[in-house]
Symmetry: C2
Subunit: 242 residues, 2 copies
DNA sequence: TACTTGCCTTCCGCTGAACGGAAGGGGTGC
DNA sequence: GCACCCCTTCCGTTCAGCGGAAGGCAAGTA
């Protein structure tokens, strides 16, 4: 990368991720690939700006200043606002964890999430990215992605659980069925004990702009009811987006 | 402030706020108080890092990179997660806009928000700060703040609507009543056509850690029912926090 | 106690990157 | 034509960032 101070700052901040929300100074320096003394100075600067906080145990975490700034980012603001009430309705109707995701390259980017009291084991969180082949919303986004994205995604079918689909042919068949049926399902393909149903959310030009999904312990005979509830919500969002 | 590049970067980013989510280069330079050429270079750096985006119309907005980073900040993560399901319950019971806020100095910092289909005019949003004297959650937080904070807050009773309380004595009387009653109300004190009810959320040591509030068009005879619903939710959150 | 290993912090001389005034290029209004 | 407002680029000066090195803690090992 460039050698500007700015890029160094973001190299350093890039050391944080969903699995590393707090780091020691040396871990920061190591992960960012810079000398300890340099990291030390940068961290001091960032702390002065409120971009980093130091917890009592000495580890550093992202500061409130960055939280503030991040919330100002126009990441699908319109979509999130339009969808918000329908997500609640959906939660009310299903009592399941509800997800709203958009496609970001070959990943599903979760832009909203609504967890219930009883949550099945779930790895997603707002801001996290998950592969397109192992989740309900991912499959929906995959089914409505351009051909080159589908091709790229099919080359990275990493196995996550024993039930994850890793054969391109089978996934491709599912993609076709999802397009025809208008919804996708998964069964413990992302995490054991969690099944999911998802439907596309369409924009004014009928293009798929997002995916709306729920996660439940088991589908059993609920599938038709859940799909119906999802479709009602998705259509509501679509009408609001008009 | 310091003159480090890092602090300059945050001076520049600080030009963005809830009312200025997109800015031209010159506006950025002006608001950050730096020469245009300097702002130009910094903006170029930030864009390269994904911290800023340029919209088609030429204005700059906070980029997705900062959104990602901001979501990693441990801003009341535990509280938000514990509260989330109860916020939904509360929405289900009241169909009102639901707010969760903590005190940040002499402001109420909104850390979660849940808007319904029919939303009364509301200025708050997640990440925004509002004064302690003009909102339901603000008054609750004020009523349970240390004396010096109360004193400081009483010196800044800015008028927002014709109904805003600006006399320290009257506000102080309300604060006492709020402590006694266990809930606060407002009537169009922050925005016309919006009333609110709020209750404290207590932590393991029975200290007030947050305020939970709802905004409705009018209180009428609903007040007892709304207060009851709020208290149920607040107690649920408190139990989860144990 | 003495040694090691891991943290964090401070120092300091060199150097190249940041700085910002100035100049220039496009657009719009009058 | 001129005036005004944007944005962009250039370039010589200078000073702030750099990072190796040294040192100070605290915990674990012999």
């Amino acid at each position: 990368m460039g050698a500007s101070v700015t890029s160094r700052v973001f190299d350093l901040l890039g050391a944080f991720d969903a699995g590393h929300r707090s780091l020691t100074l040396s871990a920061l320096a190591r992960r960012a690939g810079m000398p300890l003394a340099t990291a030390h100075r940068l961290v001091a600067d960032l702390r002065r700006c409120g971009a980093l906080d130091r917890r009592p145990d000495g580890e550093y975490v992202i500061g409130r200043r960055l939280w503030d700034l991040g919330l100002l980012a126009p990441v699908q603001t319109g979509l999130r606002q339009a969808a918000s009430p329908f997500l609640h309705d959906l939660y009310g109707a299903t009592l399941a964890t509800v997800h709203l995701a958009v496609r970001d390259g070959v990943s599903a980017l979760y832009i909203d999430r609504l967890a219930g009291h009883v949550s099945v084991p779930i790895v997603s969180d707002v801001g996290s990215r998950l592969p397109l082949h192992a989740t309900g919303v991912g499959k929906v986004l995959l089914a409505h992605a351009p051909d080159d994205v589908v091709a790229a995604a099919l080359t990275r079918l990493t196995r996550i659980t024993p039930y994850t689909l890793t054969e391109p042919a089978r996934l491709l068949a599912q993609v076709r069925r999802i397009r025809a049926d208008g919804y996708a399902t998964t069964g413990e393909e992302m995490s054991l004990g969690a099944c999911s149903v998802a439907v596309p959310v369409r924009g004014p030009a009928d293009e798929v702009v997002a995916a709306l999904g729920i996660v439940v312990p088991t589908l059993r005979r609920e599938r038709p009811r859940l799909v119906a509830a999802l479709q009602v919500a998705a259509q509501g969002i679509a009408r609001t987006l008009q």
